[in-house]
Amino acid sequence: MRGIILASGLIFLPVTAHAQNVTMATEASFPPFSQTEADGSYTGLEIDLGNAVCQHLGWNCTWVQQDFDGAIAALLAGQFDIIFSSMSITDERAEVADFSIPYYSTPTAFFGASDASFSPPSELNGRTIGIYGGSTQQEYAEENYSDVTLRQYENIDQMGADLQAGRIDAMFVEQIAGLNWSISDDTTGYGQIGEIVSVAEFGGKGAGAMFRQGEDNLREAVNGALRALYADGTFDEISARWLPEGASVRADDLWTN
């Protein structure tokens, strides 16, 4: 009997933290950070960055798709090792899991019809706003905007479709992702509206990779890799591939040490 238990322990060993096989979660529908191509593969800034981290560390990484709203829960439940999916660093989240140093940061903005008759955030009363379920935007909007109806979405394409269909008046998302959505041919007449909510106003910690508590080896390794990729120009090279010219999402000004 003991033999069987030991043997089954061995079978499952390769997925523990110390191994070279690492599973990373991506939402795969938040361009330009992550998206799914017609051939089923995942691409985007975060996918390239994540792959560069793995290559730097000599890890054998596998991506799994995970909707944003359940991502932290699924991480805690052991469904994968790292969330690499535009996860903003907050104190509340840091209580249940550990973050890497931030690897990108972008303000949050409103997107709607360019000829919208209202200017958020000051004229939001009675409006319906789309947000990601479980996002920092949801939390921020719940705390700061009263008399607003919030609708939760699992990805920006569904949110955008509902914006164009008139089911919501605006979406409240990370600026770069919103801009990326609004530059497509299908979205003429839609763009950024009102005022930006700056990174500082938002808590100002950027987005980081997320780990279960106690997996310090993984976290330290990723931190080291991120610093190296920032230093040797790989990060800028990757962002140039995915961002509009001149835009930057560098987060090294947020690093405390």
Binding site: A73, A77, G133, G134, D162, A165
Partner: protein, 230 residues
């Protein structure tokens, strides 16, 4: 497994969700019945085009998964200019409307068979006796067929109510915060899956158990001859 503090703190959210579930269920039961009765009449009719329509309706709405029906109505119809650019859009832009329509059509697919089956099960002799006794067709329907059919179909109708309640949980996938979504949201906030999801499960269970008990009591009440059994 259950954390009492989390449970009490978020109980209002769960109750709000349960209230939304109740609203979705009530509308669906009304609309479902309103759609099912004419279709059931088609199914019972001797005219073949009507009968074929009834059959096609049943095949389509029983064969289509509820979730697919909902996504088709919510996301798919938004692409159709005839809907998007006309008065119809005032209805279809609303997530509740879409969910209730999908649920009602799905429910009607089953319900019309429940109704048709119950009418078919009314003993022929009783109908013939009433006709021979000189009752007008409308009175035969009103006094003989309908009361009998209600009694005979009650149990199946009760089951259908339960399927509707369970079915409303899919409305959570088109931005409606009903009971299942409310529980999930609490989970995403607290990272404790067991407390909110089990609590929601208990609420569903209690409601459904009560309804099935109630239906059974009603059935006994309406069917005195059953009371002597057992």
């Amino acid at each position: 497994m259950m954390d009492i503090e989390t449970f009490l703190r978020y109980l209002p959210n769960l109750l709000n969700g349960a209230w939304e579930t109740a609203i979705l269920t009530s509308f669906t039961l009304v609309f479902g019945l309103a759609i099912a009765i004419p279709v059931a009449i088609c199914r019972l009719s001797r005219s073949w085009p009507l009968n074929a329509f009834g059959l096609a309706f049943v095949f389509f709405f029983r064969g289509a998964p509820l979730l697919v029906l909902l996504f088709l109505i919510y996301f798919g119809l938004a692409d159709v200019p005839l809907i998007r650019e006309t008065w119809a859009w005032t209805f279809f832009r609303d997530a509740y409307f879409c969910a209730i329509i999908a649920l009602s059509l799905n429910s009607a697919g089953y319900l019309c068979e429940v109704i048709a089956g119950a009418v078919r099960a009314v003993p022929r002799g009783e109908v013939e006796a009433a006709t021979v006794a000189g009752l007008a067709p409308i009175d035969v329907a009103r006094l003989v067929i309908i009361p009998n059919a209600v009694r005979l179909g009650l149990r199946n109708y009760g089951n259908e109510i339960i399927f509707v309640i369970k079915g409303t949980s899919i409305a959570s996938l088109v931005t409606i915060v009903e009971l299942t979504r409310a529980a999930n949201n609490i989970y995403f906030r607290t990272f404790d899956p067991f407390t909110p999801l089990i609590a929601a499960g208990v609420i569903y269970f209690v409601v459904i158990w009560t309804i099935s008990r109630g239906i059974r009591a009603l059935e006994r009440n309406l069917t005195p001859q059953l009371r002597t059994q057992n």
